[in-house]
Symmetry: D3
């Protein structure tokens, strides 16, 4: 407790992921959760599998 | 708002994914959600990671 | 196959949810999925459990 | 982009949730994501719906 | 490791949930995972938030 | 009904996944769910995308 799932575009480096999991874990520690109880899974989502506003993130933006 | 996660077998083309994200987004627009507020992530799940009725989708069906 | 999870603010009516599940299902039928294979779960998320830009959706917007 | 789902026990206050969403969002800003692109949904999970080690979190611990 | 999310209709008793979490945990123990590493969250989904084949599970079936 | 999502480290064999989906499905049958109504998706999460206690599972443990 707790478990956190991160859905984000793929392409992030391992160093960026370290920053992400350290920051999220430190946040839960602030509200009294022991660090070792924080579990995180990151899903690297390719841009052709992600959409905002009905357009795949891999599609060129309209001008 | 909203966020939609699609779990489906891998193997779909980008054109099929375009149809999926356009259709889902248009559906939320019908109930008053602005298109740009609709976010979608598709998880391509390999058949050996998917099961129905206790059998992996990659296993041959019994006759 | 497929399974779709919708994360949205609570407060939608059952009629709006009917429109949502019919529209999403029809979208998958367009790419060749049989309607009966489409499964959907809607998570009604209270606004105090949802954040955009680091602010809970239940907080008043800054002017 | 990104979308974060937090599964945690229910019972947290709105002030604790504010700390959580501010901290998670600030973390993504550190790796270059604009704050307004960070979306978070918190699922409050009752202890009788949560298990570690095969025991519901609502069950008394063995001595 | 691992984390399991169960999406199911609400209405199950705590005793049924105990059977579910014990059975899932025992399954992972069979492949070498220590029981205490298995974490499970159950989402109780109301029938009006669940759809199969484009129909909410709360709707009467057509004859 | 139900749908189960398994988040686990990648590297498991197909035979281990068979054991997992058979065991989870058999568990739901015990509480009265027909086997064919049980759907499962496994997400293979690389260790550099998984964190416990604020450390990626791919990082060496401190002595």
């Amino acid at each position: 407790m707790p478990f956190i799932i991160v859905e984000m575009w793929d392409g992030r480096t391992v160093d960026q992921k370290k920053i992400v999991v350290e920051g999220i874990t430190a946040t839960f520690v602030k509200i009294g959760v022991p660090a070792e109880a924080v579990h995180i899974a990151i899903h690297d989502v390719p841009k052709h599998n992600w959409a905002d506003g009905g357009k795949l993130a891999s599609e060129p933006k309209s001008p």
